[in-house]
Point group: C2
Chain length 355, copies 2
């Protein structure tokens, strides 16, 4: 039994639960320490059971080891789950209310009958995932290194006349030759006025001279994600673009400077936001300052105005201020941060802005 599973048991005790039904794939992957797909995991001190179908049985056998029993399900997985809970004599089953669809909740409840109660829970596994262990940090470092190689590779395609989607194509090819399994998300290449949409869909627009190109990319290395944004300029940089770029960069520097264990997440966001506001661009910085990353590209913690929690060593998150001038252009600079015992490390610090 690995220590991640064991640590869930004490959580269950504290909450008066006999077992937890884990349904979010990233949470299951975390607990079994391998990429899990189309499965449910019942976690309890008495027994852990992994429910999946025939398509994934061979794969599951190879990674479950002594962490969980494998149950191959034909027909309704919910009947299998309810039977197992009843057989084990459990009365209180926790479920992940943020991910379990309403209909699945009701199906399990129906199968449970009077046998056991369903208790909504949230964040039991997500809270643990916020703080990374040494093995996880090593994988994140590797994902970051691959990201650096990708950026270097695509330099030669960042020239006038090339389509946004062609840069995506070259990146998607390259990463798979460098030990990444896939990209971490739809890679964003946003040229010219397209960069004013924070999540632009890369398309057939061709890069042009004297325009910015915003590139937001990340890779998946053994399940762990990287997430980085850089803005490149083709030809001469217009005065306003340079000005906005410098404001965003300075806002990021100010935020990173105060990252240390104990610092409040809202405060990190506030420092960047207030600097941008002081320069007159408050209403153009329209999203949170950052988000955690790891097995998911977006996970807790959220670095937001409304997040009163404090940072802990081992947390990994992005710091990505942005200014988006509608129909003109947008600038975002995104780096990956690891909270250390005394402050922080910019994991992506060695990836320079190649302007």
């Amino acid at each position: 039994m690995n220590s991640r599973l064991k640590s869930v048991y004490s959580q269950l005790k504290q909450r008066g639960l006999d077992a937890l039904l884990v349904s979010l794939p990233a949470n299951i992957s975390y607990l079994v320490e391998s990429l899990s797909r189309d499965s449910y995991l019942l976690v309890s001190e008495k027994e852990n059971i992994y429910f999946t179908d025939s398509r994934y049985v061979e794969e599951a056998k190879s990674f479950l080891k002594n962490n969980a029993q494998l149950k191959e399900c034909n027909g309704s997985v919910f009947k299998h789950i309810a039977s197992a809970v009843i057989d084990l004599g459990f009365k209180k089953l926790g479920i992940e209310e943020r991910y379990l669809p309403f209909a699945e909740f009701n199906k399990i409840k129906e199968c449970a009958g009077e046998g056991f109660d369903l208790i909504p829970t949230h964040s039991i596994i997500e809270d643990k995932r916020q703080v990374k262990d040494a093995g996880e940090i090593a994988k994140i470092r590797k994902a970051t290194q691959i990201t650096d190689l990708v950026l270097e590779h695509i330099q030669k395609f960042i020239v006038p006349g090339v389509k946004e989607i062609e840069i995506v194509a070259e990146a998607e090819r390259f990463i798979r030759y460098h030990e990444a399994r896939a990209s971490a998300f739809d890679i964003i290449v946003a040229s010219g006025h397209n960069s004013s949409q924070p999540h632009h869909l890369s398309g057939a627009r061709k890069l042009q001279d004297h325009e910015p190109v915003l590139i937001d990319l990340g890779v998946d290395y053994q399940g762990y994600k990287s997430d980085l944004t850089r803005v490149f300029f083709l030809g001469k940089i217009k005065v306003l673009m340079r000005k906005v770029y410098d404001i965003v960069l300075k806002a990021q520097e100010k935020a990173i400077k105060i990252i240390r264990p104990g610092a409040e997440m809202a405060e990190i966001d506030r420092v960047a936001r207030e600097y941008i506001a002081s320069k007159g661009y408050a209403k153009y910085f329209t999203h949170n300052l950052g988000h955690g990353f790891g097995l998911a590209v977006h996970e807790d913690p959220r670095i937001s105005r409304n997040e009163a929690s404090s940072l802990k060593p081992g947390m990994t998150f992005t710091v990505e201020p942005g200014i988006y001038l509608p129909n003109k252009f947008g600038i975002r600079i995104e780096d990956m941060i690891l909270v250390t015992r005394t402050g922080c490390e910019v994991l992506s610090g060695f990836i320079n802005n190649r302007n």
Copy 2:
């Protein structure tokens, strides 16, 4: 107002609902006829409202036109939704029970107070999506053509010594140079014994002589997906492999032969399954015969033993029998079918098995 939205209104009337809150991205994309992300759509005869956040506002403006009002949400989207429902004087709000998480259901309920009731529904939009219109079929044809080009392109990489993931890399690059937005799913390249896992994760294994290579790939063309599987053989084909291949191919042919409007889905599955059983391989065909595809790569209808519904003209689905011999090899042949008025068309019929 487009006709897809209008057709929902009569569904609402039949069910005694004032409005439906659509939350599945593919359902929203279908109704607004454009790729939608991170949004909720309230559909009612009185007014349609599209809820999203600042990241997607510019994009939404460009495609919503007169189909729905745009509501940019700061803070809790559920408060915005509940306010809108109350302002419009609605008493019965349908929700999509298969996709709305349990916690979101409760949040909306809490915001609703005594103002309105939440009514679980399912399949209102999915049922409509099963039958494709001419515009959708044209996009699926284009996705299929691109898939053919990809297969032709990757021929030269299907040689001993090349890694599975490198073939994925070349395909992922190529499709983006040919008008596809992305692959439709994680492309599967499964070599040798890896092919015995129906959903193998492509990895670092190198192709070897005298082995099969199973390739399952699809592309996304303007939101519409293709999905096709071919098995290639390197060098000499072993007798057992040839035998199993021929059984799978024959099973597919038999199933396709009986596809016509009115045919029962279970019957299509049964014909292929019984043929495979007659050859002694029943327990090695471990999944359904096929699945619908369109805006999602897996959608209704399911071509399964348990599906008593009948086929209608305009339905598109895969027919993909498979035989998987654990730790030895697996064979799956997957084609894309369109039900016509009198029978069916194999959309991917022009893509030969290039053995």
